[in-house]
Symmetry: D2
Subunit: 376 residues, 4 copies
């Protein structure tokens, strides 16, 4: 058995992080490492800081789900597999299933290295890269757990049963996720206008709290040149919509914030305008950093009331910039049969949404759709 530092291995790093860092910080949902290895066994050396919401990790072997577990605070040597035929080349992916938790200052994750009795081989790049930007839906909240659950906890969140995961398999692509539950394009679900994704989009993981994450590089500007997506899927608007039905939030230094409805329940012009502008502005930010990506605003898994305002924001963007490489797509609404825990889309709803996006992307990029076999 030989231990190697993570930066000594031909590892494919998933998710935004600091290039060549050792230990390697893992911030976002679906972030982690992927290796090709010929070995009898493989272990990962991982370090977790945590106060309240433990990170959950998933192991996939040859593209199939193997394990999902909570990683407790501390440094651990975790076995990814043991006693498989060492002559076979095996693809192993180990990634954070749960999302980053805003405000959890103690929470951080780093991967120090891998230990194996075998040898590593390079992981080939996929033909297409997709970035998924979103909220709780994109963080897979509700994809694990009984429909009875009401606690907002990492154990019920996932990227392994979320739509990006299904699209990855169907189209054989690489994905990144930038998302946080409750956040919007303009405001959070509770009218806290600080909870907006654009404000943190340009940093490695601007949402990560605490000194350790800062030290690890979370607050640095993201190096967009290092990873340019072919497509960006933006699934935002659900929490902005929620703001119209929630009480005001007293934002420090700003005062009470509240999105308002007219008496007929339509949106107050002045308030919906804020969201439209935020949509337009976010598209500009996305384009600045991702010059060639096809941007799809894909929305609707928890109601579609924001369709028209979002499209207005997109149309303004197109008009102002003459950039037509953007699109809008509705994702099917969640139903009683497809809902998961705490009223969020379950695995089935995520699969239905993934199918719609898969068809769209396969046509746009002229790609074959893989069938699923009997396991996922």
């Amino acid at each position: 058995m030989e231990y190697k530092k993570i930066n000594e291995i031909p590892v494919k790093v998933h998710g935004r992080t600091i290039k060549d860092a050792c230990p390697l910080p893992i911030f976002w949902s679906r972030s982690g490492i992927e290796v090709n290895v010929r070995a009898n066994e493989l272990w990962v050396d991982i370090e977790v800081g945590c106060d309240y919401q433990e990170p959950w990790f998933v192991t996939e072997i040859n593209g199939a789900f193997m394990s999902r577990q909570m990683i407790l605070k501390g440094r651990h040597k975790i076995c990814l597999y043991r006693n498989l035929n060492p002559a076979e080349l095996r693809n192993v992916k180990f990634y954070k299933d749960s999302q980053i938790v805003a405000g959890e200052e103690a929470l951080y994750v780093t991967i120090h290295g891998l230990e194996t009795d075998g040898t590593f081989e390079p992981v080939e790049d996929k033909k297409l890269k997709i970035e998924f930007v979103g909220d709780s839906i994109t963080s897979g909240e509700g994809t694990y757990g009984s429909f009875k659950e009401t606690d907002w906890r990492t154990m019920f969140h996932s990227s392994s049963r979320q739509y990006a995961s299904f699209i990855e398999r169907a189209l054989d692509v690489e994905s990144r996720v930038i998302s946080h539950g409750g956040w919007g394009v303009y405001t959070g679900w509770d009218n806290d206008i600080r909870s907006n994704i654009p404000s943190i989009y340009e940093y490695v993981c601007g949402i990560a709290a605490g000194e350790e994450n800062a030290r690890l590089g979370a607050k640095e500007q993201n190096d967009f040149k290092a990873w340019q997506p072919d497509a960006i899927i933006v699934n935002l608007g659900t929490n902005d919509n929620s703001g119209f039905d929630q009480p005001a939030f007293d934002v420090p230094g700003v005062g009470p914030c509240k999105l308002r409805r007219n008496e007929d329940r339509s949106f107050l012009d002045e308030d919906i305008e804020k969201i439209k502008s935020a949509v337009t502005g976010f598209l500009k930010m996305l384009r600045k950093n991702n010059p060639k990506a096809h941007i799809v605003w894909a929305y609707g898994m928890l109601g579609s009331e924001m369709n028209l305002p979002i499209c207005d924001g997109i149309n303004r963007y197109v008009k102002e910039t003459n950039d037509n490489n953007v699109a809008f797509l509705n994702l099917p609404d969640t139903t009683d049969e497809t809902v998961g825990s705490f009223g969020h889309p379950g695995m089935v709803s995520q699969k239905v949404a993934a199918d719609v996006l898969t068809v769209y992307l396969s046509k746009r990029f002229n790609m074959k759709i893989n069938g699923y076999n009997g396991n996922i």
Copy 2:
């Protein structure tokens, strides 16, 4: 056996036509008659004029599909059923499965009466009325026939396997269809700008050709007060989109018409503007005639390239009128597994689209969704 004229029977008339007319003209797809009857047998007395494209009719009993047949030119007494238990109250629906055919001057259909050995009872109104306005998709083109078929013929068109049909069953509602293959909101698929639905929307069946249809009342103003829908589903835009990829059409008295793309394949501003205006204008027309209907522009079963322009047209309408009782909804795209004949959505694609609309409408109008049993 007793023969009764159609206006002597407590018949529920489906589709736009002339109130109390006898014989009763049948114009649109999904138009026809519905009766409740206690009888051993039931016959319909129908007259068809036709030169080339025969009308096809479907019989449903107690909500289940029974028969689909071509009706040839001439007057026929057609048996809807025989030798069923006369003690049972039975709901029988006999409707035109195929769409009206623009330009087919000889084509008309009238129902003269019914013959039975039993008694009729009134048909109760459904709780919700929905109007479906569209093109070939709403005319169910492609829902019958092998994927090999390429002839544009009524036999491959239907309303029995089209999304309105599935929604009717799922939500127990009443529907009307106003649709024609190849037509758009601004222009037809071939850039013939006369093929636009708004130009004929306000007439009973403005699309019907020939003297006989005129005599039967097709060109009369529609009596909107007599049937006010709770919801209108507009599925237009697919043919407008097509215009950008088709050669110019020389419209008599107008000259060559053609929607154009820029070099990067985006739409020429001047041309897409025509469609946006048409969307806005059509919404105004719909609202004028249907003051309380919830209007949903539901689009996307054959590509979604028009999402943003359509939404721009809708947003302008909202801005100009302050009417927020409109919405936009994407329907899932047709795939290799769901396509029917001549490249159009097959029955499965129509069912998938119906499911999305059913969920939307059930939430909007707080209605229960019926399961399907083993037959359709």
Copy 3:
């Protein structure tokens, strides 16, 4: 337009009938004619005798369902299609959807000829022939109509939505159906022991009543050499099972017949023995007439209580004959979600059963399974 007698056309005849007869008698469900034709239009000249239960016919074009209609008493020229591109070779199938009705003396069907403006080309044989022998399930009772229907009428029976139909498409094979509702391998559902399929199996259509059917050849010995199936699917036992729960039937010349249960509801040995012997005997009859066919007793769509007695009958057959080219296969039971009219398997249940048989046959005969496209 040219009229040709049916025996002057290179027609493929489906179902047991009299070779080269003109007019051609049509007896069993799924029986009829198939032609390849290049023509603008095609008409069939059909004659029906009928007192109470009209025969229903289905037209398929290029393998896709087009029309289903009742054919009334009399001689009719029925249009199968009109105005399709005459340059295309088109496969047209016109077959009896409804089963033969035992006891309906007036009922007969013959096809006299076809009329067309085009030319016929031969229909190639399929690679595999399958005979389906059964009862109401194989007669597709319940596959049309609302679950509310309780009348036993041809309009609710079909071969177009029955499992043989789905298997034909999935495996591209040719099928024949020998079946009648209520009949068993030993006794009918009501303990009328005359209603057993073996008693009529060796005749062209031994179940057909009346002088006209006799004159047409129904009572003749079937010419087994002319059509040897590669597989025979026997779906019998459901009505034999029913006999244990029905009152005695007074069979003329025999006296009261009744299958009995013990107090613990198990079958009385003496009575279940009759069914086991009938299974063994029927297998011998099938083998005598079909020396090379793989025989599968496929049962269970309305309960599986007869599994063990049927297998006992089969095992005895194997022991007595040393013929191992027989098998038993359970078909999935019908559920609340898959039931059709009058408590019988609906279209969905038939599709589920077809899938099980399709997988079995595809492995046995090493055949590819075709996917369905968006229409059926």
Copy 4:
């Protein structure tokens, strides 16, 4: 936080083991513990002995899958959840996902206790108890992992994606699993006749190897009175079938063993007789120990060639014993779309089989079938 020994807690023990033992031995797949708890967090104190094939465990909360992980050799305190609302009563199940491994002498698992900051409440018994007896299919081999995997390892085996698991949820019942890959009712897949389930059925876990398991009670007679199933599902025969196609196995003290085929590939009478007798004999053993259980031999997920011999064995049992409380049921065969890893039924195939059994059991025991929601 308070630590309690496992025998001090109102724990529901799943799977055959030693009553009130502390530590509690965990032998079979799907064996483990279930508690109802009101607590902020819950930990389990587990001990594992292991040389080569680590045991895998699954945690379910409120009936939903949460975690799946390998447990390494040694004694571990594993967190089942943290920081969930302590006011809520929560059902937590922690069970061995992987099967017992015959021949792995070092392998044993015991649970010592639980630690929590909350309180336990009793777990109510389910209305129905079902015992599943089988081979690799019942051990869920192939239900995890890519179809590429060929290693026989616990990581690819499961009870969480196996049919018993789906039936438990659908019918809200309690289940036990007695199964081992490669074993049969008469012989193992490789003609090793020692690998037969009847030989170990009457012991707590007769298949467990090594001194530690013996010390823990594995070789003791099972206390059948303590847990009487309402139904027993026997899924055996697949490996007996395999013996006909495998070379002879030299069984120590017995000599070469081999099941043989005739030239026409049918089974040699003398050899198939051994399996039939084994079926009959095993049914007698099952009945002796489970006087009231409804016994269903449910077979066919990897071919159905043994249907008739199995039924012969069952019919002999019925004849000899006059016990009719037994049945045979075919489970649908695995297809290219439903296969999992190393050619075994994948999760989808297991779900399809579970559906057939669920319908059967729901009718037999008059139970409602629960729908699945969007998660599993």
